[in-house]
Amino acid sequence: MNISITAGRGLRRWRWLSLGVAMTVALTACGSDTDSGGSGAKKITFWLSTSAQLQGYNDLAKEFEAKEGVKVEIVNVPYDGYQEKLRQSAQANSLPDVASVPQLETLWINQLQDLSATANNDTNKIRKDLVTEQDGKVLAIPSDLTAAGLFINKSLFDKAKVTYPTDPAQTWTWDEFLAAATKVRTATGAKYDLVYDNSPARIRAFIYTHGGKGFQLGSDGKYATPDAATVQALTKFKSMNDDKVMPKSVWTSGADPNALFKSGQVVAYYSGVWQVADFAESITNFEWASAPTPAQPVHATDINLGGKVVAFNNGDAAAPAKKWVDFIFQRDNYTKLAAANGYLPVESGLTVTYPFKKQAALDAFALYTKEIELADPISSSGQAAQTTLILDGKAIQKDPTKDEMAKFVNGEQDVQKTVDNIVNGLNEQLS
């Protein structure tokens, strides 16, 4: 019986195991001692979430450190899980000093500093309708604007010799646009007229431009049943999902409209300004252009906020945090930031020279700037409602529009049920 021989050999081979355990113990021992927040407030942390727009902040942070002697540590947090992370950080008392967040949250809203000095500074000319304000306290300033808008495959239009408007002041109607797109599709052998982002914000723009008010917050703090124009617009939208005008797969089963448009087989794509930088880089097999948003008859889009800049009240880091926010929004700095990051500015009257090499991208930004000036005031009501709710201690975590529209487009329910479910789904979250 030679148990011991085997065992001995086995153990010798597994010596690294004990080494590993020792290492692990050492690792576990050196626990959470570093607190990045308030080390003499010579350093502050700034969280944001972006897949591209870091450069502008990096540049500003360097200048800020040179000027104020405070280092800004910029942390790029992935979008997927960012809100969750903020929530948990609040529970662990480790919120960042400054952050650009997708949405404010009740859980930590009481830890925000008042940014009114920056927001109300007249030289900054920050658009007042976009800041989050409560009892005279400014809690958040948007870092940038985003707007929904239309892209077209210029190569296909040129090939079919179909013209399109270039000036938002003389835009087309949806009927004109769809007729043009169908003409282009049939002339060029493309597959679809249009792909449309699967998002509540983009469908809002569709409703507004058709004269509907969409799902609006009533004076009683509840969402009201929408008007007839809204219902009509949604019905029309469904009928467009016929696998000719639009492929059904986007709104029913999560196909990526961005990828579909990039195939070059789709005449137009309704999305938003954030696509410009991506298209400038990654569309090489055809020419594209931004086209004015169709108006039938209302000239509207959906104006949203890129990120909301907030400063947390973190002990001795609070003062430099506020300084950093103020620094970001000083007119000269903000101009540089907007240019480097490709932001639509929140400060009015700003001339931003975007660093794009592609003319289409530069034209697109010029067009969006005009669109925002021309847009019906209803265009920013979606984000305004969100702000109102948050300040009220409520929040829409999940807009049911996408799911309910998916069921509608898929033929699982009719338009009335869809509208009812959306209203109920929204109100349910407010109770």
């Binding site: 355990v21 576990t28 947090v77």
Partner: protein, 294 residues
């Protein structure tokens, strides 16, 4: 009762050394053909993915789709490498994965052995408990688990990623099922020899389970390597971020930079393949028949 033999025996199913019987050749052809068919089926999506990572962004979604990149580029890789602190995140992930793997193996082996060889009611009950850990969606206990980790003072340390991951039903059951196949005679013999229970486990049983250890090592390494939401939530200091957090920053709210994401994904997979090849070689070559015959 032959407990062990020092002479290596040809492992199971490896019978190729004998002179080929008449039917052997056709069997070889068939088996190889089936395997290669499967290789093509499994490999095609993978090949598409790998080749796509060399495509410039403009080619990824162009129509008609092409398998081979027309203008191959490594820009996706270089951008991925520079878009976050790859080296630091890589190191952190390595520490987490190695530590978690070692601990997981030790703990799972001990527990699996107990579940296989002891039959008190409470041992059996605990078996169900271990299984229960896989039954709740991770999101349900994410928040409460976070509070536990915070209260234990583990927040913002790599051990917060490692320690809760050490208990795994898969690992425990791998060892349990393995030790079920180890004859009790071996245990009995050790007992007659006067070996203590724990010493029998460490000296005799643990070495026997080497293929399981190695297989679990591959699993555990992969799990921790690809962990995402938990490290994101419990790590606050960007110097402690893990690789998948960095990879996830490439996926924006409205845009996905696919060429960079593909590059980053390929890069982050390389260490896993290396570990797999290294450990799998030992699994395949293991002289594990020793001690298992009755």
């Amino acid at each position: 009762m032959a407990l062990t033999t020092s002479t290596p025996r040809p492992p199971a199913l490896r019978r190729g050394k004998r002179p080929a019987a008449p039917g052997e050749l056709s069997k070889k052809v068939w088996a190889t053909a089936v395997m290669w068919l499967l290789v093509v089926v499994y490999g095609f999506p993978v090949l598409w993915f790998l080749l796509s990572s060399f495509k410039p962004a403009g080619e990824l979604f162009s129509y008609p789709l092409t398998l081979l990149p027309k203008n191959p580029t490594i820009e996706g890789f270089t951008q991925a490498w520079t878009s976050f602190d790859f080296a630091q995140y890589f190191l952190n992930t390595l520490i987490v994965a190695v530590a978690a793997t070692v601990l997981t193996i030790v703990v799972s082996a001990a527990c699996g052995y107990a579940l296989a060889k002891y039959h008190s009611w409470w041992v059996k009950a605990f078996m169900i408990c271990v299984l229960a850990t896989t039954m709740l969606p991770a999101e349900v206990i994410l928040s409460p688990l976070f509070l536990v980790v915070r209260d234990l003072g583990l927040y913002n340390s790599l051990s917060a990623v490692v320690v809760p991951a050490v208990i795994t039903a898969t690992g425990t059951f791998m060892f349990r099922q393995f030790f079920l196949t180890v004859p009790n005679d071996l245990l009995e013999a050790a007992r007659i020899d006067g070996s203590g229970e724990l010493s029998t486990f460490i000296r005799i049983m643990l070495p026997l389970s080497r293929p399981i250890m190695l297989t679990l090592a591959i699993f555990s390494f992969q799990w921790r390597w690809n962990d995402y939401i938990w490290p994101l939530v419990v790590l606050n200091d960007p110097n402690k971020f893990t690789l998948q957090i960095g990879v996830a920053t490439i996926v924006g709210a409205d845009n996905v930079n696919w060429s960079v994401l593909l590059g980053a994904s390929v890069l982050s997979m390389i260490p896993l393949v290396a570990i797999y090849l290294l450990l799998q070689k030992y699994v395949m070559n293991a002289d594990i028949n020793a001690g298992l015959k009755d």
